[in-house]
């Protein structure tokens, strides 16, 4: 009622040019009404945020179908593992835990590892998974092997609005990815576009938008989780059908493009140019530093893995020399690891075959041995 009374003279004044006294009264009433409306908006916002917080707690963390079996299998038995390997499909298809276990087990001290590689898992999502593993805590877990992160702000458009991509956009990681974008060398337009994308995803996650699938999603998974535990997370691509089988058939039918890429790679390796110096220059060191600190604070040892890629990456060896990476296993050099680049070792251009995974796992185990010996000695001490 007051508001209506306050506004009426204002409109009359506008058309008739009323006295300044009346005008002042009207503008005071207008300001008061505006303040009241702002207060109500803030109250509504507070109610909204409180309710989203409660909804998020009720729903629990995301368990996307492609992530859930492995994550639940490892979290259910985290005290049963000494090492967890986290990364993308290159890790998922390239690391055979049984090979690591056989090599690193010692009399009276069996070693057991789990492959937590998930197709399409990039650095920030992997970092979220690292946080979940750390938060779960384990009396036995000592090593976290993580695919060396590139901290990509970008993804395939198909993946960008998936629940998995949205879910790592908590305040800390959104801040990190925004900072990473603005320190990169892209155009201003591209930076704005990517920043807007991640801000949208942050608010999408904050509001629990489209997260209803998390409600009541506990049925029908136990079988898959158990099967994943049985194989310690490793699933070769050879058992896949559909796209993977088609990719395989095309690769086997004509491996010459891949062989040409490997020849170029060898040439670059001879010239010591396997890495992309611009990527190293603009590498997001702060995100890496924070990850290492969190892992070490939890009493674990981080080991970073560079799979046998054919595309250039940042120079992780240089980052290790800077003291950012405590332990690095770099398998990119085709001169040092020729067996990992043979056609027979590959399922397709990007992923290892069963045979290649065995060789890759042996190479990892060999380099991991001194690290594990040190960690085990520390435990005994």
């Amino acid at each position: 009622m007051d508001r209506a009374r306050g506004d009426r003279p204002s409109r009359v004044n506008e058309s008739l040019g009323a006295s300044p006294t009346v005008d002042r009264t009207a503008s005071c009433a207008g300001r008061s009404a505006a303040r009241r409306r702002v207060g109500l908006v803030l109250l509504g916002l507070a109610a909204f945020l409180s309710a989203t917080w409660v909804v998020a707690r009720v729903q629990g963390p995301l368990r996307a179908p492609s992530l859930r079996p492995q994550l639940e299998a490892v979290l259910a038995d985290l005290d049963g593992y000494d090492a967890v390997v986290i990364g993308s499909s290159r890790i998922q298809r390239g690391v055979q835990p049984e090979v690591l276990d056989a090599r690193l087990s010692a009399p009276g001290r069996p070693f057991r590892s789990f492959n937590l590689g998930v197709a399409g898992m990039k650095s920030f999502e992997a970092d979220r998974v690292v946080s979940e593993v750390l938060a779960a805590g384990s009396s036995r877990l000592r090593l976290l092997l993580i695919e060396a992160p590139e901290w990509q702000a970008d993804a395939k458009p198909l993946h960008m609005f998936t629940a998995r991509f949205t879910d790592w956009h908590d305040p800390r990681r959104t801040w990190l990815v925004l900072r990473s974008i603005w320190r990169s060398e892209g155009s201003l337009l591209r930076k704005l576009e990517l920043s807007w994308l991640h801000v949208r995803l942050f608010f999408t996650r904050l509001s629990n938008y489209g997260s209803h699938e998390r409600f009541g999603s506990d049925s029908g998974w136990s079988g898959r989780v158990e099967r994943m535990a049985d194989v310690q997370g490793y699933r070769p691509l050879e058992i896949s059908r559909g796209n993977a089988a088609r990719r395989r058939a095309a690769f086997v039918a004509d491996p010459s493009p891949y062989q040409a890429v490997v020849r170029q790679l060898r040439h670059r390796a001879r010239g010591g140019a396997l890495s992309d110096s611009s990527r190293t220059r603009r590498y997001d060191r702060e995100s890496l530093r924070q990850q290492v600190e969190r892992i070490e604070e939890a009493g674990l040892t981080p080991v970073y893995l560079v799979p046998p890629l054919t595309a250039p990456t940042a120079d992780f060896a240089a980052l290790a020399e800077e003291g950012l990476i405590p332990h690095l296993i770099d398998l990119r050099d085709p001169l040092e690891y020729p067996e990992l680049f043979q056609v027979e070792s590959r399922f397709d251009k990007e992923h290892m075959s069963i045979r290649g995974a065995r060789e890759m796992s042996q190479a990892i185990a060999e380099q991991l041995e001194p690290v594990w010996t040190g960690v085990a000695a520390g435990d005994r001490g």
Binding site: L45, A47, A51, A163, T204
Partner: protein
């Protein structure tokens, strides 16, 4: 840019804030015009030229009609508008349909007319704004409306972004007078449109988009499903299209109201209708009244003999079907409704008990939507045959829990018709409204479908 997208929220907040901060009505209108063009350009800026062309044609024709009393010249100007607007609409929307149909027909006759389909993108909302501009010209021609002198006002009438791409179809007589008054934010009852927007959002993002995931596979392969599932899918699609379209209309009306403008209602609880005639008074009201005023009544309306009446109704609804899309399924759907409307002139369905009337309408409408939604007449035939006991060939079944959603929707639909939410919303204390609204939004958002689905009526 969809109303359900996060970026629309940012866009609308900016438009809303600047609109109410500008002190002059003319500046506000120019701002809204710029915002409307930007909104459309966000989809495809190239098609802005069509809106501008349509605007210029009808503005000029309106001014021309005002300047002359000569009947021949006036008629000529009307023809210019009709040819211009319907020419654009016909080319973009119907060229391929008629070209392919003519080629197939002449090939069947053994003549083989060399007409080929072109790769034409259908401009979003073209049917809606074309009908709006046409109604303006016809009203000026008939002397029911004076031509507007302000080009920006007319351009805003054609392109006003809340209703630009999927209606409601606004008449110039309803909208142009609203542009002359200066509005004041203090006069705007913000709560009612805020609630209306949220209800539209729930209909679209939480119901329609989630139902689409269930219904789409059934319409893609009706032969694979059993009879119960086909019935369920047909009812669910009726619910989906209602929630999709009326949800959009709710959001459009709410956005306009937040900016101080009134748009006409487009839906009046259609599934509570007891006859098909009643249904069309409640479904897509602005389109139905457009066809009534500009086509049905000039054809003679109800004051003709029974045969002529049947022909008129079927013709109007055939065109109504074609308005929805260039495909034989839409044509058949239109004639199907025309048939039932004609039937009701001779068989007094309104004498049925109301519950039986509801059942009759839901059955007729849902079977009609099977034709409407199917990708072709053959697929519609397979679906409709499957609705008959023993007619289905497949064994796949939809989860029966969806029947509960249909029942729940029916109850809510009836309750909202009986007890509108406006009064409690208006009378509640401000703080209570703010808290409840915030909590309800937080409870609604998790149920939104994960992917943004375009509104079904955007394609029309």
């Amino acid at each position: 840019m969809l109303f359900t997208e996060f970026r629309f929220l940012g866009f609308f907040l900016l438009v809303f804030a600047v609109h109410w901060l500008l002190p002059w009505n003319r500046a506000r209108k120019l701002w809204l015009l710029a915002a409307s063009y930007s909104f459309y350009a966000a989809w495809d800026w190239r098609f802005l030229s069509l809106i501008v062309a349509s605007t210029l044609i009808d503005y000029s024709v309106g001014r021309g009609l005002e300047l002359t009393d000569d009947r021949t010249r006036r008629r000529g100007l009307l023809v210019v508008s009709l040819v211009g607007n319907l020419g654009i609409l016909g080319f973009f929307k119907y060229y391929n349909f008629f070209a392919v149909s003519a080629a197939e027909f002449t090939s069947w006759l053994g003549l083989g007319l060399p007409l080929q389909a072109l790769e034409i993108v259908l401009p979003m909302g073209i049917s809606f704004y074309t009908f709006q501009t046409l109604s303006y010209t016809v009203d000026v021609y008939r002397g029911r409306l004076g031509a507007t002198h302000s080009l920006p006002d007319f351009a805003l009438f054609v392109s006003f972004f809340p209703q630009l791409v999927a209606g409601p179809i606004v008449r110039a007589t309803e909208f142009l007078p609203q542009l002359t008054d200066t509005r004041h934010l203090a006069d705007i009852a913000l709560r009612v449109p805020l609630v209306r927007f949220l209800m539209g959002y729930v209909k679209k993002a939480c119901l329609a988009d989630n139902i689409a995931a269930v219904v789409d596979p059934v319409f893609a392969e009706p032969a694979a499903f059993d009879t119960v599932s086909l019935w369920l899918a047909s009812f669910l699609y009726s619910l989906q299209i209602y929630c999709d379209f009326s949800g959009y209309s709710d959001m459009a009306i709410a956005c306009a109201a937040l900016l101080g403008y009134h748009l006409p209602e487009n839906f009046g609880f259609p599934y509570l209708a007891t006859t098909v005639q009643d249904y069309w008074r409640r479904w897509h009201i602005t389109l139905t009244t457009w066809f009534r005023d500009y086509l049905y009544i000039p054809m003679g309306g109800n004051r003709v003999g029974p045969v002529r009446l049947t022909i008129n109704l079927c013709t109007v609804f055939l065109l109504c079907g074609l308005w929805h899309g260039a495909a034989w399924t839409f044509v058949v759907w239109g004639v199907y409704h025309g048939f039932f409307l004609s039937l009701e002139r001779f068989v007094p369905m309104r004498r049925l008990p109301s519950w039986l009337g509801h059942v009759y309408v839901v059955l007729v409408v849902s079977c009609g939507f099977v034709i409407f939604r199917s990708s072709g007449l053959a697929e519609a035939g397979v679906f409709l045959r499957g609705l008959v006991p023993g007619g289905a060939t497949g064994a796949y079944a939809i989860w029966n829990g969806w029947w509960l959603l249909l029942v729940a929707f029916g109850l809510v639909h009836a309750a909202l018709a009986r007890w509108p939410v406006e009064n409690p919303v208006r009378n509640s204390p401000g703080w209570a409204f703010a808290v409840v609204y915030g909590v309800v939004v937080a409870l609604v958002l998790p149920w939104a479908a994960n992917q943004y689905e375009p509104f079904i009526y955007f394609q029309f």
